[in-house]
Amino acid sequence: MVLDPQLVWNGLVVGSIISVSALGLTLIFGILNFINIAYGDYMAAGAYVAWAVNAQAGLPIGVAIVAGILVMSVGSVVLDKLVFQHFRTRSPITLLIVSIGVAFFIRNLLRAIWGPSGHFYDLPMEASPSFAGVRFSVEQVAIIVVSLLLLLGVYVMLRRTRIGIAMRAASDDRMLSRIRGVDTEKLVLYVWLIGGAIAGLSGIMLGLDAQIRPNMGFTALIAIFAAVILGGIGDPKGAVAGGYFIGVAQEVSVAVIPSEYKFGVGLVALIIGLLTRPDGLFGEATR
């Protein structure tokens, strides 16, 4: 089968977004050990804040992106202090259900403030150039470049910096990292700051690529879960690989199956992945 380069390109764009969001989700999971159902709504909130700054306040998209990221970064910490912190000693299942409550709250807050209908960013109109038969937009190029830079940055942080190594250590074994002297509550704070920022950014990228809607993050969540689980829960490089795999597989599948079902590819990959490789692509999952 010959792969249509346009589909592969589209897949890389989608894969970049899934990878980045999966990385944020898996970082949070690694240290807090629960699946945050509200993560998709964090993404949507980031996209909306940026939209408000961009389309409503009329500021340039660059400023809007920074605003969206900052608000979600700080907002995640605030939500942790308000809600999740009080459930630290409870079971992962309880936390998962708590996050359902948080998801309800955020999604409907977005609807209450900005209404249920979709929005687009206010971007300068530019022609879509094409190269070697592939049409691409400036936003798409930006998404791919920014994603790669971010993934590289997080990789270096996790491998080279003291705080990054401590994050990986706490993700392996939280109590042991306390025994070694790490103040894990402070670490949790950093993880929310980073994870929230990543959620905000990936929400904005999703909004750039498609449309800004209250349930945009939740809709994307299954593909993100699929990436995280395929990569092995809590394993950042697995999540990134899983994200690109699902993005490309989803878009390329359009050549073979009706395009309505392309979202099913993530689901099927997820189910097959879980049943055959519960430890993830690299078999180093934290559990």
Binding site: A166, R180, G181, T184
Partner: protein, 238 residues
């Protein structure tokens, strides 16, 4: 006095496991806690290092009361703890594990990571060979060395070991005890819990017998080994 426990009470939830234990330990000593399964030995150690919170009593260490402090704070006082199981970060390299061991001292004037690393490599040569390997891929004995090395990198004032010989193949058990003696002779006091009671007591300055969460006997290692009562109750007849 290096370490002095006074009527320490602790447990999990409603269950009290340690019922008012007293003990003292001098600088430079090796002290072993023995006792039957379920006597509260591990819980006592966890209470000393802050993993389990002390409900009552005091834990004086170098003149400071540590009772009620969390583990991440206690390690800053120079008390390093090696758990019985899961005592390494499996997905970190050996070197990264050692770096985690140095966490509380990083950036302090008195601490030089490379100097300490050399000393730890001297004591545990295998760590240097395997520095870049994923710790979880090492054998059980090697992992135990990583755990000890991670604790030793801080040059602790007290090394606390929970069953260092547990799960090791018998030929490695002796090696482990020799290592412990070696570390102690180099100047580090050691407090440990051991199931392998005879072998441990033989290497200890003092032993403490714990039963049903209370201390029953104290004495030098030899006294306990010679005591008929202790032998009958806690060492098994042989």
């Amino acid at each position: 006095m290096l370490l002095e426990l006074e009527s320490v009470v602790s447990g999990y939830g409603d269950a009290i496991i340690v019922h008012g234990v007293d003990m003292q330990m001098e600088d430079g000593e090796v002290v072993t806690i023995i006792g039957p399964n379920g006597a509260g030995k591990s819980t006592l150690l966890k209470t000393v290092v802050g993993v389990v919170e002390a409900r009552e009593g005091s834990v004086q260490f170098n003149g400071t009361d540590l009772a009620g402090k969390p583990p991440e704070e206690i390690v800053e006082y120079g008390m390093c703890y090696v758990r019985q199981n899961d005592n390494i970060f499996p997905n970190l390299s050996v070197m990264e594990n050692l770096k985690m061991g140095a966490w509380p001292a990083e950036g302090k004037d008195w601490f030089d990571f490379d100097d300490r690393l050399d000393e730890v490599y001297d004591q545990f040569p295998v760590l240097e060979e395997r520095a870049e390997q994923r710790a979880g891929s090492l054998s059980g004995g090697q992992q135990q060395m990583v755990a000890m090395g991670t604790a030793m990198i801080l040059d602790p004032d007290l090394l606390v070991l929970d069953e260092p010989s547990a799960g090791l193949a018998p030929q490695l058990v002796d090696e482990m005890f020799e290592k412990i003696v070696e570390i102690n002779e180099a100047g580090t006091p050691i407090l440990m819990v051991e199931q392998n009671a005879r072998a441990a007591l033989r290497r200890s300055d003092r032993g403490i017998v714990l039963d049903m969460g209370e201390n029953r006997f104290q004495g030098t290692g030899e006294e306990l080994l010679d005591s008929e009562e202790v032998a009958e109750l806690y060492l098994g007849t042989d």
